[in-house]
Amino acid sequence: MSAARSERGGTGKSLTWRTRLRRDKSLLLMTVPAVVLLLVFNYAPLFGLVTAFQYYDPLDGVRNSEWAGLAQFQQLFNDPLFWGALKNTLWLSLVQLVLFFPVPIALALLLNTVLSERLRNFIQSVVYLPHFFSWVLAITIFQQMLGGAGVLNHFLRQHDMQPWDITTNPHTFALLITSQAVWKEAGWGIIVFLAALAAINTDLYEAAAADGAGRWRRMWHITLPGLRGVIVLMLVLRLGNALSVGFEQFLIQREAVGHETADVLDTFSFYYGIANGNYSFGAAAGLFKSVISLLLIWGANKLAHVFGEDGLYRK
């Protein structure tokens, strides 16, 4: 890899920017629409962050709203509900990292061992499908099955057993939302791993098999190293998004388990900011989240480089 890098570096230096521009003209042109989209929808709204330092009023506009300085942040950091929401976010993120993240990888490996293409396509379609359901639908299905008036509890009551309401139990909420996430998203998550699996040279397997390597050894020495780059990339992205564990899923189930259990940073911004017309407070909470996320993704990327992986970009 280091040889490749120096080679690229060499050509880069020896060409003037004008030559490079001419060489990459068509490539650059192709990126223009994406860059424009990014500028308009991701960078331009960044100026709205100034509202986090104001007492923003939509009628007065950003320009005429009263300046608040750090008052919104002061209020935010003094709010026990905010710290509760942060704690919930981190906890749920950790649970999902441990229990959700490995599932698509395992699924992809399993699916890869299925030889019949027909069967494989069928399984793939079945596990993809829930991704296209909305959260409302997914949660309704869970409630109909596991809720207090759902199938499970109806059965328990019919047979004179104690009902067991899983959907309103705050203590097992982390497991509930993770299982919902697995049900809905794990199938979709395997796509990227399947692509990486397809990219592994099959000659390697044949050579290893000829040398007497069994199924497990081939997985350990060929498949997993082949997947490592993608796994690390997904992990870096996941860590960077550690503070975004979802929104609708919590919004819908907030009443079921209570706000102290279900409030994550995003729902906190919504309920205590936007829903009350307290836009600046919500913006402050959002800005806080973004800054921490930036630090997380930067840290995770650094770590990936330390271990010799590409991370988000090649160093």
Binding site: G61, Q143, G147, G148, G258
Partner: protein, 561 residues
């Protein structure tokens, strides 16, 4: 101009009071953009001078006349059992003079195509060329601020009163909305007889700074927050009638008697919002020894919570209600999975009846009378706003244009059952509706173009109870209103549309407390947890809120009662 700062440091609102004792409503001190704002509030005399006279309309007599509640000023909505066979015209000729106008109204439904046959028929009848621009009702509170910020209001616009603070209606009135006082104050309204039949209380919600700006759209003299409903057919089949249920204990016993979890039936859906009133809890504030007390601080508030906590813990509340699945509450009620549930009175109508009998042919909705928790003493329920929606004209209109639109408004406010009302609500006979057993029934074209309600959001007659084809509903609902009309009272700061500085408003909405209350009446948090949330709320802004209300509202403008 530092309007933001000024608006905040002042009280920006119109506090309007329906009923007898007029309290000086508060006006937006400053706001909007013109820079010529007057600070100050409505004065008692000023408001009296701005309000129009009230002349009841008797063009279409009701089958079940309204019943007065006496000193509280409430009157039940009149009931109509049949739709008049030959609707009478209340407006002579064509009101308009051929002007062209734009109008924006909220619409909860699919936007009908522009220039459709119904709009054409309306334009012809009104004698003006209207460009109707219905906007999504669910996002209305975010759509309108972009228009007001750009100072691009249409000629006529509907602004729901419950979003007054979002819209800064007080500031708008001062700069971008037309002052209607010169056209409508006192006896001047008599040239618009249908507008004159709108009750005074509703007009008061449109007064800002001693001037009349708003035209009430949906007004009532029976402004009730809601009621505790029950499945009358199923309870009566078990020998239970509403008059046997007189107290909270009776309610709890009903929970025990009616809940059959094994059979999938729970006695209760959420009732907190409407049943807690039985403990004497005020809308928000009450006065004790001349001092403001918030409802959170009242011992009866905690008592009510405790009872609701017990109701949920005892297992009498439907599990899906506990899970916060409110959108299916109607389905549960129709299917008989829940038998008692709280809700707004808007639910008591023909559509509800039709959905109910589709699920169960015997379906009949009933409501418990307003009660006290102890079962003794006088039951009381606070009034809501007299008109929840108002429309406003653009300040840029010329006087003759305003007169033309007021004449149109007079047409739109024609009473229930009149020829004008029939056109506005059902369209043209043979095109948009046909008479089926005397009942105007929408055709497909009518469903698409007319039932997507637009014109009544500009002006409409006072509300009536009418459910053509569902007479039982009309009889039940009017009877219930008549039985309860005397229990209404005017709460503190009634019809005062207060808007507050942001920090105060956050404390006023008390989101953290409200969340914990919800957890408590769902049996997930104890009353002591709510007490803890209340004391945090008090130190985090609740006490400041009380001080602000005392200084800026109570001591300046009084109680509004």
């Amino acid at each position: 101009m530092r309007q933001g700062l000024n608006r905040r440091s002042f009280l920006s609102s119109a506090a309007t009071v329906a009923g007898a004792a007029a309290v000086a409503p508060l006006l937006s001190a400053c706001g909007g953009g013109g820079g010529k704002h007057k600070s100050g509030a409505n004065t008692e005399q000023g408001m009296k001078a701005a309000l129009p006279a009230y002349v009841p309309n008797t063009a279409v007599p009701a089958d079940i006349p309204g019943v007065s509640g006496g000193s509280n000023g409430a009157v039940t909505d009149p009931g109509f059992l049949s739709y008049p066979a030959n609707p009478v015209a209340t407006v002579q000729g064509v009101p308009g003079k051929g002007g062209s106008y734009t109008a924006v109204t909220p619409l909860w439904g699919t936007v009908p195509p522009a220039g459709n046959s119904f709009y054409q028929a309306m334009n012809k009848a009104l004698g003006v060329s209207f460009e109707m621009k219905p906007a999504d009702g669910n996002n209305y509170n975010t759509i309108i601020p972009t228009m007001t910020a750009a100072k691009k209001l249409p000629d006529w616009i509907n602004l729901p009163a419950w979003w007054n603070s979002n819209f800064n209606t007080g500031g708008l009135a001062d700069s971008q909305l037309a002052d209607l006082t010169p056209y409508l104050a006192g006896d001047k309204i008599k040239q618009y007889p249908n507008l004159a039949a709108i009750p005074t209380g509703a007009w008061q919600t449109g007064v800002w700074g001693d001037k009349l700006y708003g035209i009430p759209c949906f007004s009532t003299a029976m402004p009730l927050p809601g009621a505790v409903f029950y499945r009358r057919d199923l309870l009566e089949a078990k020998g239970i009638t509403a008059d046997q249920v007189k107290s909270a204990d009776d309610m709890m016993n009903l929970g025990k008697e009616l809940t059959d979890a094994k059979g999938g039936v729970w006695a209760f859906d959420d009732v907190w919002t409407y049943l807690s009133i039985a403990w004497g809890i005020p809308a928000k504030w009450t006065l004790k020894d001349g001092k403001l007390v918030h409802k959170y601080e009242l011992p009866e508030f905690l008592e009510a919570l405790d009872w609701h906590y017990k109701l949920a813990s005892a297992g009498y509340l439907h599990p899906d209600a506990i899970a916060g699945n409110n959108s299916d509450a109607g389905t549960r009620f129709y299917a008989g999975k829940t038998l008692i549930g709280g809700g707004g009175l808007g639910a008591w109508n023909l559509a509800d009846h039709q959905s109910g009998i589709a699920a169960d042919p015997n379906y009949r909705r009933g409501a418990f009378n307003i009660m006290t928790a102890s079962g003794t003493g006088n039951p009381q329920i606070f009034m809501g706003s007299s008109s929840s929606m108002l429309s406003y004209l653009n300040a840029k209109l010329k006087p003759e244009q305003i007169e033309e639109l007021l004449a149109v408004a007079n047409y739109l406010a024609a009473p229930y059952g009149s020829a004008e009302y029939t056109l506005i609500n059902f369209g043209v006979e043979g095109v948009h509706y046909n008479r089926v057993n005397g009942v105007p029934t929408a055709t497909d074209e009518g469903k698409k173009d007319v039932q997507a309600t637009t014109f009544p959001f500009l002006a409409a007659p006072p509300s009536v109870i009418s459910n053509p084809g569902g007479d039982q509903v009309t009889k039940d609902y009017t009877a219930w209103q008549a039985a309860n009309v005397k229990t209404l009272y005017k709460p503190l700061f009634w019809n005062m549309n207060l808007s507050m500085p942001q920090q105060i408003a956050s404390a006023d909405s008390g989101q953290a407390v409200e969340d914990t209350i919800k957890d408590c009446y769902h049996g997930k948090k104890k009353v002591s947890d709510v007490q803890a949330a209340i004391s945090t709320w008090k130190s985090n802004g609740g006490d400041r809120l009380k001080q602000w209300m005392t200084d800026n509202v109570l001591s300046k403008y009084g109680t509004g009662q």
